[in-house]
Structures are given as structure tokens and as C-alpha cells.
């Protein structure tokens, strides 16, 4: 176990060097929402942002997430500088975007890339909740669709880590249309025999749940992740009562038949390697 941790830490440090700066890490202590114990940020980061005491999974920046599952040095980012043109002329939106771009080193919330996992070439993407709650607007839709189309062209398996509040309010109807755009692209990729592994992380809701994120051949989720269509607050307002504990958790979704497996972060890379091998000859390869 300690060997794996050391390996992760080494990979993270390599990533830091690659980006010429530290990831969004504050030096201060924080309290684990899972067990209430104080945690040192640096140790948390070294432990893949999972509480060492109770296993609570903290949010993970998109590039850090991809670095954790990809083989060292294989990460090739795509469309890194695609930004929104504010299609609805929404007041204050460009300023908000610029502010977040400065704060996070992201142009928008989705990071797409090609890379290798256990030696196998893959197309990967991750949403980042630090950037407008991972919400899907035109940039997310366009980047993801380009990635899916590339995966179809190059016969690559597709792995997407979702973490999103849903549609991007500031892009209104254009956001809604991204649900159709990305779902249509997944459909084409899938019909041609492409493998799509959808990994749901905390939280995956709204328009992301109701489009590409639910369309995986294999559906995985992180422990305790909130996964649902309507947010808990909206449901409570609708039905006029408190939701039961664990409602819409990853485990709840597995129980109700929507997820194949709940996979702790420490095991996600190994799980992906295994799934890619299982979809090798006789599976995706055969179809094409």
C-alpha cells in the first residue's frame, strides 16, 4: 500500500513540475466532512484526496484526476484553450469566467486528453467542480464531442470522469443543446463499437446525468458520490419532506440498478486497466 502511495506522490510531484506551479492546494488544515477529524492538506493530496481515517473522497482537480489514472508522461491535453464567447450575452459572465481562469489555470471546466492506461491508448476527460461546479456549457459540449469523435476515428476507448451540477445557467438554452450534442456523439461512437466507461464522482446531477454521463457501457462511481437528476433541495421542495439518508448516493444508485460498481479512488486505475483488458480482443476490437 505504501508503495502505491509513494508512486502516487511521485506522479503528483511530476505533474506539479510539469505545470510549473502547485495545484490548487492551500497550506492550511481542514476538517474532514466525513469524520470531523483535522487533516493536513498536503497529506490529503498525497493520499489522492481521500481521508485516511474514514475514506471520505474530496473533490479532485481535473488534471490531477487524469494524472492519477494515466501512465506517467502519457498525458496529452487537447483543446486546452477553448473558451466561451458568452452566447446569451449574460451580464457578468465573461468577468466570472476570467476570474476563474486566473484562479484555477483552467479555460473552462472540462479537461480532455489522450493518454495511456496500463499501456493502452485511451481518450479521457474530467470535469472540475472548482470551475462553475463543473457545469456544462458550449465549451464542455464542444470539447467532449471533439474527444468522442477522435476516439471513434482512432478506435480509442473513452473514459469520462463526471462531476457536475448540470447545465451552465449562464449559457441557458445553449447548455441544454449540449445534452443532445454529446449524447448523439456517444451514440455514434457506441454504434461503431467504441467502449465508453463513465465514472461518476461527487456530484453528478442535472443535465450531465441526463445525457452522456448515463450512457456508459460500464458505469462506475466513487463511494459516497451524489448521483441524480434533480438536486436534493429541489426534490425536498417538491415532495415536502426530508430525503432519507444516503438518497442518491453512488451506493443507492448501484442498488437501484444504474451503476455497475462503486470503486474507491485508490482502486480506479487498476479497475480501468482490468476493464480495458476485458474489452480487448473479442470485444470492441472484434466489432470494428
Amino acid at each position: 500500500m505504501s508503495g502505491i502511495l509513494a508512486e502516487r506522490r511521485r506522479r503528483l510531484l511530476a505533474l506539479k513540475k510539469l505545470r510549473g506551479g502547485a495545484p490548487a492546494v492551500e497550506a492550511e488544515r481542514r476538517t474532514c466532512p466525513g469524520c470531523g477529524r483535522p487533516l493536513v492538506e498536503e497529506e490529503l493530496v498525497a493520499n489522492q484526496r481521500v481521508c485516511p481515517y474514514c475514506g471520505f473522497h474530496f473533490a479532485m482537480p481535473a488534471r490531477e484526476r487524469l494524472a492519477l489514472v494515466l501512465d506517467d508522461g502519457s498525458f496529452r491535453e487537447l483543446d486546452r484553450n477553448l473558451v466561451s464567447k458568452n452566447p446569451l450575452d449574460f451580464p457578468g459572465y465573461p468577468e466570472k469566467l476570467r476570474d476563474l481562469q486566473k484562479k484555477t489555470d483552467l479555460a473552462d471546466t472540462l479537461v480532455t486528453a489522450t493518454g495511456k492506461i496500463g499501456g493502452a491508448r485511451v481518450a479521457v476527460a474530467a470535469l472540475d467542480t472548482r470551475f462553475l461546479m463543473g457545469s456544462m456549457g458550449a465549451v464542455v459540449g464542444e470539447k467532449l464531442t471533439r474527444l468522442i469523435e477522435r476516439a471513434a476515428r482512432q478506435h480509442l476507448p473513452l473514459i469520462v470522469f463526471s462531476a457536475s451540477g448540470g447545465a451552465r445557467m449562464q449559457e441557458g438554452i445553449i447548455s441544454l443543446m449540449q445534452m443532445a450534442k454529446t449524447s448523439a456523439a456517444i451514440e455514434r461512437f457506441s454504434t461503431r463499437g467504441g467502449l465508453f466507461i463513465s465514472v461518476l464522482t461527487h456530484p453528478t446531477t442535472g443535465g450531465v446525468t441526463a445525457s452522456f454521463a448515463s450512457l456508459g457501457d460500464i458505469m462506475l462511481a466513487e463511494p459516497g458520490a451524489l448521483v441524480g437528476f434533480a438536486g436534493p433541495r429541489v426534490i425536498e421542495q417538491t415532495i415536502g419532506e426530508k430525503l432519507p439518508d444516503g438518497f442518491q448516493s453512488a451506493e443507492f444508485q448501484m442498488e437501484h440498478g444504474f451503476i455497475d460498481a462503486v470503486v474507491p479512488r485508490a482502486r480506479i486505475r487498476r479497475t480501468l486497466i482490468r476493464l480495458l483488458a476485458l474489452h480487448g480482443k473479442g470485444g470492441a476490437e472484434y466489432v470494428r
Binding site: S84, G172, A180, K181, V234
Partner: protein, 304 residues
């Protein structure tokens, strides 16, 4: 649906004012004298007397055979679907149904479908694909139902699969936003080769109330939200989200439903002629390209 109306040739509407007939060929501008504000259009789109899917199907189609049930567990009446003749041609019709009186509204959950409703829509779409019937949908929902059971039964998955399925059909699909086009629950039936919208209908990522509540933590600012959301037919036409605006009679569709049916019939006839000319492969390709382009112009290379 009134008890005394007939199912036969009801699209042959006679009680239409000369004014409406004249404007049937092309969209006229929104009512010029005191054009409704976006918030007023939201109110018109929700008007209880506004013709719904059941009334429109009754008026424009003949020999409607309703297909009920999701073939798994239940029938959700908030989505209505079936086979009918449109000017003698068999088509599949699908739409959200809100109900026309209080009993019906409760039964149809005010037009908010459950996952089972979307799964029913899927199996009806598959039947249309099998028998080569064009699909005409009528979209009128505040949104998919955000309830406990709906979540347990996979509301997100049901909508996602419906969108995915509709996006790839090789039979032509024409969607008409007739009232409220609310969120993913509306989009699930609106992946059309052609998307039309009634003049006073609205189509948005979320209800104005929900939008104001999420963005400003204040649902009472809904009217303000209407103005910034770009949810009117004219807005959506200029954004390229819809293809045509179907003009409504003065004061809104509820003021003269017969006039609306006449105009809508003309539009559907024209759109159907356009899409049925294409080969089945071309139909799927046309729809893919249409939605592939959505938002593509809203991004640019810039500094990160």
C-alpha cells in the same frame, strides 16, 4: 378533448379568420402593438386554456391509435403517443400531456413525466423506426418530475437514453414546442430534424423560477430571469436553436385554437414534405449535423 368532437378529418378547419389564413404561409413578426414581454409569454405558454398535445392531435390528425405503456411496469399518461394519419400518411405522434381539467392534470402530474413515461416514448420511437413512420412530437412540459420515485427509477438515465435514441433515428423527426419547453424533460422529445416553436411558447434550460433560485437564490426574481434567459421563440430562432416560429392568433393560441390548428397544419405539411424527401441515412446525418453544430460558434480559442 371534448366529447362531441370527431376524429375524422378534423384538420379540415373552416372557422378561420381571413387574417390568419393570409398569414399562414410565412411567420409574421410577433404581435407588433404591445408585443408581450418574455414574462408575459411564459404566462401565455402556461395558460390553462392553451391547446395541449391531446387537442392538437385531435384536430390535426385522423384515426389516432394510442399506444400505452412502457412494456415494463406501467403507463405514464403525461406522455401521449400513438399512430395516426396526417393527411392520409401514417405517422407516429408523441407529446407531453398536461390534461384539460383538474382531474386530468393530477392524473398527468401537470405534464411532468416519470422515467416510465420516457421509456414509453422510447419504445414508441423504436416502433416508428421499425415501420418507417415519421415522428411528430409536441413538447409541453415544465420539466421531468423531480420526485423520490422518479429518482429511484432513473430519471436521468431515462432522459439520456431517449435523447440518444431520438438523435440516431433514421425516420424524420419534427418537434413542435407548443407550450412550456422545460429542460431535459422537454429536450428528450425535441431532438428533431426540424424544430418548430409556437410564437408564445418558451423553451429553456430550466423554469424561470428555478433559474432565479439557482443563480440568485431568489425564486421571486423569475420575471427578471425571463428577460435574460432568451427563452422566447424569436430569441431561439436568432440563436439557431429552432428552425421556424409558428404564428399564433391575436392574444395567444387559447383565444382561437381553430386558427392555430390551421396554421400549424400548413407548417407541418411543409416541414414533413421537406424531411421525407431525404433518404433514411441522410435523415440521421442531417440531424446529427444539426445538433453537432449547436454551440460550436459559442466557443473560441482564447487565453486559459
Amino acid at each position: 378533448m371534448s366529447a362531441n368532437s370527431t376524429n375524422e378529418n378534423t384538420h379540415e378547419v373552416t372557422a378561420v379568420s381571413a387574417d390568419t389564413t393570409a398569414s399562414a404561409g410565412a411567420p409574421r413578426a410577433a404581435i407588433t402593438v404591445g408585443a408581450p414581454t418574455a414574462a408575459e409569454r411564459v404566462a401565455l405558454a402556461r395558460h390553462p386554456g392553451r391547446p395541449g398535445t391531446a387537442e392538437i392531435v385531435e384536430a390535426l390528425f385522423s384515426d389516432f391509435f394510442e399506444q400505452k405503456g412502457d412494456r415494463s411496469s406501467t403507463d405514464d399518461p403525461s406522455i401521449m403517443g400513438g399512430i395516426a394519419l396526417f393527411h392520409g400518411v401514417p405517422v407516429t405522434v408523441l407529446g407531453h400531456r398536461k390534461g384539460s381539467n383538474i382531474e386530468e392534470r393530477v392524473e398527468m402530474n401537470f405534464g411532468m413525466p416519470s422515467p416510465e413515461g420516457y421509456r414509453k416514448a422510447q419504445r414508441i420511437m423504436r416502433a416508428a423506426e421499425k415501420f418507417g413512420r415519421p415522428i411528430i412530437t409536441f413538447v409541453d412540459t415544465p420539466g421531468a418530475y423531480p420526485g423520490l420515485e422518479a429518482e429511484e427509477h432513473g430519471q436521468g438515465e431515462a432522459i439520456a437514453r431517449t435523447i440518444e435514441l431520438m438523435s440516431a433515428l433514421t425516420v424524420p423527426t419534427i418537434a413542435v414546442i407548443t407550450g412550456e419547453g422545460g429542460s431535459g424533460g422537454a429536450l428528450a422529445l425535441a431532438v428533431g430534424n426540424r424544430v418548430l416553436m409556437l410564437e408564445n411558447a418558451v423553451y429553456s434550460v430550466l423554469s424561470p423560477e428555478g433559474f432565479a433560485s439557482i443563480l440568485w437564490k431568489d425564486a421571486s426574481r423569475a420575471d427578471e430571469a425571463c428577460e435574460v434567459m432568451k427563452l422566447t421563440a424569436a430569441d431561439l430562432l436568432s440563436l439557431g436553436v429552432i428552425d421556424a416560429v409558428v404564428p399564433e392568433p391575436e392574444g395567444g393560441a387559447h383565444e382561437n385554437p381553430q386558427a392555430l390548428y390551421q396554421v400549424l397544419d400548413t407548417y407541418l405539411t411543409r416541414e414533413l414534405a421537406r424531411v421525407t424527401k431525404m433518404s433514411r441515412t441522410a435523415v440521421a446525418e442531417d440531424r446529427y449535423r444539426k445538433f453537432r453544430a449547436m454551440g460550436a460558434a459559442a466557443v473560441k480559442r482564447g487565453r486559459a
